[in-house]
């Protein structure tokens, strides 16, 4: 599961802050009227919220990518898919990609994410992944697949470490994902467009 604080250190500091503020509220409760306790509680919750927002910011990055994996001339691509049926995007794939790893992203609601109750979403992602891999193989492409971490960047990091990748193909409808991927990875990121054979790859 993704650590929303980005590191264990930040998470520990957040827990420490919760304990300290709880102590402050308890101390206020012992010596002050209810209105003051309420005010301190509101301030404490606000402070924790601000700490969470600041602590949850991911470290700034510049685009980077691992060394090429596979044979010297081999071209590998990651194919990111979401909830949309990936088959709609695959008819116009270029033929210069030798191997594709389908990374099926788990789209969970914030509530499910926080409750770690994402089994239904992972099952759906697995189903989408299997369908995409079947479709790739039917097209004669050497395809395999994984269900990614619920954080898309961790999912891509994991895939690049294990499979490599010279390009990232994106078959999701999240418009911000493409820009964020380009900000983070020093390899081409290409959007796949549904139902446009021959023009299915756009930059």
């Amino acid at each position: 599961m993704r650590n929303p604080f980005g590191s264990e250190g930040r998470a520990v500091r957040f827990v420490g802050a919760v304990a300290a503020l709880a102590a402050v509220v308890a101390g206020t409760d012992a010596f002050a009227p209810a209105a003051a306790v309420a005010a301190v509680s509101v301030l404490a919750v606000g402070a924790l919220g601000a700490l969470y927002v600041v602590g949850g910011r991911r470290p700034q990055r510049i685009p980077a990518a691992p060394a090429h994996a596979g044979g010297p001339a081999e071209r590998r691509a990651l194919l990111l898919i979401g909830r949309s049926p990936a088959a709609e995007y695959l008819s116009g794939l270029r033929d210069d990609v030798d191997r594709i790893l389908v990374v099926s992203l788990v789209s969970s609601s914030p509530v499910h994410h926080w409750l770690s109750d994402i089994d239904p979403e992972r099952a759906e992602a697995h189903k989408q992944m299997e369908e995409a891999v079947s479709r790739l193989r039917a097209l004669g492409i050497d395809g395999s697949g994984v269900v990614g971490n619920d954080d898309p960047f961790t999912a891509v990091d994991d895939a690049l470490r294990t499979f490599g990748g010279d390009e990232i193909l994106v078959a999701t409808q999240d418009p911000r994902l493409i820009d964020r991927l380009r900000d983070r990875y020093a390899i081409p990121v290409t959007r796949l467009t549904a139902h446009q054979p021959g023009a299915a790859l756009t930059r």
């Binding site: 470290p59 700034q60 510049i62 980077a64 990518a65 060394a67 090429h68 990091d157 010279d166």
Partner: protein, 149 residues
């Protein structure tokens, strides 16, 4: 070949990859895909920095430094020497990381005007082709390894 990172906590944090690391500094909007691809196929992890956006904005010139530079095995700078902020960044790189190999892409005239920034053997001609750049990177790292042995 990769150095142990001394960059915990520094910003930005680009390096997730356990390969020899090349920090490629290229101006914004310059197409570096061919160079990146050639370096990656030669076995290097690559990070791409667009250089300082404004004077004093390069994290390397700040108190903490820049993890991208601190964690790199070699820097290839295509920022040139015309802009003062590019020269400042290069000077800071030389000062803070004196043993880090740096290849500077610039012409001979500018190199002669800034001899402290473009040391012997660290200059490459502008527009160098990707395969030749890979050879220069290999040679620079090899020379660094010999010097450090």
């Amino acid at each position: 070949m990769s150095k142990t990172s001394t960059s915990q906590g520094l910003q930005p944090q680009p390096w997730d990859w356990p390969h020899p690391r090349v920090l490629l500094e290229v101006p914004p909007r310059q197409d570096a895909d061919a160079r990146i691809d050639a370096l990656r196929r030669a076995g290097y992890a690559v990070a791409v920095c667009p250089g300082p956006a404004a004077p004093g904005r390069c994290p390397l010139t700040g108190d903490d430094g820049c993890a991208a530079a601190h964690g790199a095995d070699i820097v290839v700078s295509s920022l040139g020497l015309k802009e003062e902020q590019a020269r400042d960044a290069l000077a800071t790189l030389r000062l803070r990381l004196p043993h880090l190999p740096v290849l500077v892409e610039t012409d001979a005239e500018l190199a002669s005007r800034w001899p402290d920034l473009v040391l012997d053997g660290t200059r490459v001609e502008p527009g160098i082709a990707a395969p030749e750049l890979v050879e220069r990177v290999k040679r620079a790292l090899s020379e660094e390894a010999i010097a450090g042995a």
